[in-house]
Symmetry: C2
Subunit: 351 residues, 2 copies
């Protein structure tokens, strides 16, 4: 999948998935048509897309529309919904990705539906057995790197993992951080219940050894829960069950802080004053969980690039997500992952 | 282990474990000797204990001292330290608990050392295969219950669990919440990556069914990470790896909030003002993680009561921990767990 840098890139955008679809998606496509050479392929209800396009300034002939008459709702059970809706926008978009109509796919729809639909149509990179969804979140300022973001993967695509799968997640995170965020030798950490290499179960102990012995990885060891916001690692690897709980936990803690604040806001003037003064600090905390602002979470391990944007994404976030997808295609992220996995297999260092 | 309510209770207190040992431990024992009928058994260096006792007002003859000449440090590897230090205070205290010299044990020492040392000397309740450490944390105010606390278990005693072990953790949490916190029918939740009963791996799916089908449990279903601070459940069950990461994560998020605040404190007057005004709100957040204030985390599943107090515990926390331990003995928490496990086994509803 070597990519010609001058070739026009086509990014499929699921026009029906997300809280503000299709309006936000169409606005994002319109902006990209005016400001970049990327061609957006809007996948969804053609009448609704046409109606929204009529409202916004865009370059005609720079936006394609692929019709899809059904939608998987955010509250639906993904597997069942996909079985019952063969013409769902996320399935049609996944087929467009698989057959080469598009080079990458962006969706703000249900995470489960995005993971399952792309898994049905887009093959995994050879040697990779499981995909991983990477949350991108800002960390505290750090002395060692100009990069203010860290990547946590997997956050829900693969519930439980073997040691080798965790190693492959490290390759995926490494490829993404170095190719997209231009981090030179991304520091890789393994989320665990203690710093010592003997911590965790057999899977985590074995994964620690595999990462430590791999000369291409800048492995910094186990990371404990309290180190997640610190930025000690550029990439933090864990199984999907743990990553999902941790990510939602961060959202919950922030919500608690906000609730305390809102309660105070209603009841006490001095609280109200304090809150106004502290609001920028709370914003900083909030960005910990709103990874949607940063272009979305890449689904890694597939032969093609898939970006899951937050359900709440507005036009700006979707524009960022489409640009990140284009950057990932041009940067050869999938090729980089494939090479790492191949080299590992060639060394025969299987667990 | 039926307990005579009028019998004098003896609680072993590891005098050498924790950041403020032995001073905080001796002060706690002194206060208990003056204000309660509980007899504290201080386990540790007799000369240092005697010196500290000389400084504080206490009732002579109401505090016992059991000598132990070694200590496991907070930074030591627990297993190795216990192997090399047969006279470590936590080992001597565990033996005192096992042989009946004490009815319960409280330690603010290294969590790993407390779990391993008690496991070596105190038998598990019949039928129980794994102990669980329960973190007790305050939640948001809730309409359904006057109780402001929730219990998360396991937070690190048992790394990975079978479905049946998770069910037994639910029994343990149920017994503790109903006997100690006097919650009538404690709501039990299973920490998972989605609400639907089909979420998670086979272990979590099976555990969900076991809890759902058990008529004695008030099972409220799966709990997601963002619901942890909400108080939707009185008891939340998970494997030790996940509980440990989640608990430390909460600490890390709070620390981030505090760092933002301290940075601002140094740089901007308006921030400084805001911080002062909001400090009680931040205190509320802080209590989310400082379970030490609430008497410590019970280690459940053993035939005897063990309470792990926070390493930073001062005298007040330790007094609370000793009183909670006494309440757990008098409330028959271990008996309640044993009965639940027996009944489950009798029904033959094994997975």
């Amino acid at each position: 999948m070597a990519s010609d840098p001058d070739r026009e890139l086509r990014i499929a955008l699921d026009a029906m998935g997300g809280d503000h679809a299709p309006r936000a998606q169409v606005e994002a496509a319109a902006e990209i048509s005016r400001t970049s050479s990327i061609r957006v392929v809007l996948v969804g209800d053609p009448e609704r897309i046409a109606a929204e396009l009529g409202r916004v300034d865009h370059r005609r002939g720079r936006i394609d529309v692929v019709p899809a008459r059904q939608v998987v709702g955010m509250a639906e059970k993904p597997r069942q919904a996909l079985d019952e809706k063969p013409d769902a926008s996320i399935l049609v978009a996944s087929r467009a990705l698989a057959d080469g109509t598009a080079d990458a796919l962006v969706s703000a729809g249900s995470t489960g539906a995005v993971v399952l639909a792309t898994a049905r149509h887009v093959p995994l990179i050879e040697g990779v057995r499981r995909a991983a969804l990477a949350a991108v979140y800002p960390t505290r300022k750090r002395a060692t790197s100009a990069d203010r973001f860290a990547r946590l993967l997997d956050v829900g695509a693969t519930v439980r993992c073997t040691a080798e799968q965790l190693l492959f997640f490290a390759y995926m995170g490494h490829a993404y951080a170095s190719r997209i965020s231009r981090v030179d030798r991304p520091a890789i950490g393994l989320l665990n219940m203690g710093e010592e290499e003997t911590k965790g179960d057999e899977v985590l102990i074995a994964a620690h050894q595999l990462m430590k012995r791999d000369p291409r990885l800048n492995f910094v060891g186990n990371i404990e829960g309290n180190q997640l916001p610190s930025g000690v690692a550029d990439v933090i690897v864990c199984e999907g069950l743990i990553g999902n709980i941790v990510l939602k936990m961060a959202e919950g803690v922030f919500e608690t802080a906000r609730n305390i604040g809102e309660y105070a806001f209603k009841t006490k003037l001095r609280w109200k004053l304090g809150l106004g003064l502290l609001s920028s600090g709370l914003e900083q905390l909030k960005t910990l969980t709103d990874y949607g602002e940063y272009g979305g979470a890449p689904l890694l391990g597939l032969q093609k690039i898939v970006i899951k944007a937050h359900g709440r994404s507005g036009p700006t976030t979707l524009v960022n997500a489409v640009k990140v997808a284009a950057k990932a295609v041009r940067g050869g992220v999938s090729d980089e992952i494939r090479r790492s996995v191949e080299e590992f297999s060639a060394r025969g260092a299987m667990t």
